[in-house]
Symmetry: C2
Subunit: 143 residues, 2 copies
């Protein structure tokens, strides 16, 4: 059996497990709104940083810029975003949320906030901040 799993390896599995559950819960709440988790992530980033470029969007949502491109095409067809046809400095197209997207995103945000609250409901604020700090150091160790 020789498991010999270190605490570091167990932590890796735990990160994956928590992320998988989080994704699942978010998906359950976003699907009634007609949104997938990557779509929600895109709209959120677009909301927080208006006019952001597609490649930067891809980096923030942790997928390839090709995937982001087809995802944006879908959002555009649904009238949730508008992309300026004229290109900017580096051939980039400015992308903006439409009013419909803003109201949809507002509803989505309350759903996601509910999931996030469920995740952290058993943790006092102090421990929550500590968890964030510790996990950030793990992330930094990986890049």
């Amino acid at each position: 059996m020789t498991q010999a799993t270190t605490i570091a390896e167990r932590l890796g599995v735990l990160i994956k497990e928590t992320q998988a559950l989080l994704h699942q819960r978010m998906d359950e709440r976003l699907r009634p709104l007609g949104l997938s988790v990557p779509q929600y992530a895109c709209l959120t980033a677009l909301h927080d940083t208006p006019g952001i470029t597609g490649s930067e969007l891809a980096r923030r949502t942790f997928v390839s810029r090709q995937s982001t491109n087809v995802l944006l095409q879908g959002l555009e067809k649904r009238g949730l975003i508008e992309r300026s046809p004229d290109s900017g400095p580096r051939r980039e197209r400015a992308t903006e949320l439409t009013p419909e997207a803003r109201s949809l995103l507002a509803r989505a945000r309350t759903q996601v906030a509910g999931v996030a609250d469920a995740m952290t409901e058993s943790l006092p604020a102090a421990e929550l901040r500590q968890l964030e700090a510790l996990l950030a150091r793990c992330r930094d160790g990986l890049r």
Copy 2:
């Protein structure tokens, strides 16, 4: 701009980011061995729990049992696993690692251990245990 992102939501993004980086680093180290991350996860679970069923394997690796099935077919073709042709109590087929798989997995484990160490190198043992405990409570809050 109205971000209003709570610490709980930031933590969700941080979990996703850390998991994405971890997956990327593991992939970089496993690919030279001819293994993908899901394949590594399968072999590890099979090693830790010999004779495990395919469905249980799917649950532990956080994917559908259909994906696990095609993954296992690939591993079988490569001679890394053997599946008993006769079915057990619930039509399940016992799956075992071959000797080649064991030696391959041993090398893969050292690679993954290196990644896990890099992730946690800046954390003392006490804080590492604390991180594990806190994250486990987040996971429990999600299910």
